[in-house]
Symmetry: none
Subunit: 247 residues, 2 copies
């Protein structure tokens, strides 16, 4: 069970949703279970407008925010959780069953914002979307029919968050850096890796995603975000000024 302060900190993020009925269904489940912040990333535009203008569209839908990129939609969160039907590409991330995942999400909601990401009906979350996630949540569906309807998946995840559980609260770790801070640090690190020649040496197709995941595996604490940003900024500055002196 969540307090209203906890509920207030959850962001449901729908990435590239195609079907307006699914956006509406997600909003309805949020309203049923007391969540308010719906965000859509790069939706099929007519779907979003149609869902918003539907008769009886809820206040959740009316107040939904639209973003161009996942990074922007999760910027104010310290924990970003992707939802998925299990697949080979997810080996990069820790995968948690919904029962277990909900406990961790509830814990984090005591102190800061959490984003729960749902991918498109057809393709789910891409590797690029997933590189913004700290870990993945899986609803334990049957192997033979693993893929859930989007609106139903949202309902089940939110239900799992609000259902009563008697699991005792765990002590908090150091509060984590927000996704925006982590992304700023990632950007500086990428600049440093490029300026130092590191990325050139190991040129691979998805190196940016790999680095993004690498940084997310660190669990950067909020109290250290500024100093890491300063470190990489200084390194980048020095690498670039060094290079220009040498050229």
């Amino acid at each position: 069970m969540l307090t209203s302060a906890q509920s207030e900190r959850l962001r449901v993020v729908l990435v590239r949703t195609r079907n307006p009925l699914n956006i509406g269904a997600a909003a309805r489940a949020m309203s049923n279970f007391g969540f308010h912040h719906l965000r859509v990333v790069d939706p099929y535009a007519p779907a979003f407008e149609e869902a918003r203008s539907a008769v009886g569209a809820s206040s959740v839908l009316a107040r939904a925010e639209k973003f161009e990129r996942v990074a922007e939609a999760v910027a104010d969160c310290t924990l970003v959780v992707g939802t998925t039907a299990l697949g080979h590409r997810h080996l990069h991330h820790t995968l948690r069953r919904s029962e277990d995942a909900a406990r961790l999400v509830r814990q984090r909601l005591h102190s800061s914002n959490v984003a729960l990401l749902f991918g498109s009906e057809k393709f789910g979350l891409t590797n690029d979307d997933l590189s913004h996630c700290h870990w993945l949540l899986r609803i334990p569906t049957q192997e033979e029919n693993i893929s859930m309807n989007l609106g139903q998946a949202v309902a089940v995840c939110l239900y799992e968050l609000i259902r009563a559980s008697r699991v005792p609260r765990q002590p908090e770790k150091l509060p984590s850096a927000s996704a925006a801070e982590v992304e700023r640090i990632t950007t500086r690190l990428l600049e440093a890796l490029e300026a130092s020649g590191f990325l050139d040496l190991r040129r691979v197709r998805d190196s940016e995603q790999r680095i993004r995941r690498l940084v997310r595996r660190l669990h950067l604490p909020a109290c250290d975000a500024v100093i890491w940003l300063g470190i990489f900024r200084q390194i980048v500055w020095k690498l670039r000024s060094g290079r220009s002196q040498a050229d």
Copy 2:
């Protein structure tokens, strides 16, 4: 979690459903969670036919049985549970939250069949329907928006039946890097901070200790130790070669 023998004993009964999409959604959730017996009572006829003939209609839907009356649809069950949004008329029945209800349903499924009844989208279950029920299940929705979409309600109820009742063992966090690896990374980072001028700018007595603690707060995973070492080694090399070229 249910055995397949238990799953086999559940009957999902949709009473006077109007919308073919909802019949399809109920069937899909059943298929996701491993249930097979869908029964419809007095459905809006075109809705049932449309749902059954939909492209990709599941085997659950193809094998759905149609009944005229609730009594017939629940005849082979020893426990009949109605689902409801809380209302005044339910005072005749014991009302159980879904978390509790699922436990009782699972118990009964060990030995005999259980029917789970869902009413029409608009009116729910009538008093006559309810008179066939032993007790009622309520999903704990918000007072302000108590009524769920039918397909989502079915998904949530079935999920509650199959979810693990004891929180499963947490998957291991990523194994942490050894102290030796962390110290090697710290050493390289310190070299990078010195070569970049970062430490000079912020000259404090115990800067080395501060950086050592900073690195330890990251919880570096063992699988990433080599790459972080490589990153800082390359940065140091580049910073030094840049400087020496410039000197």
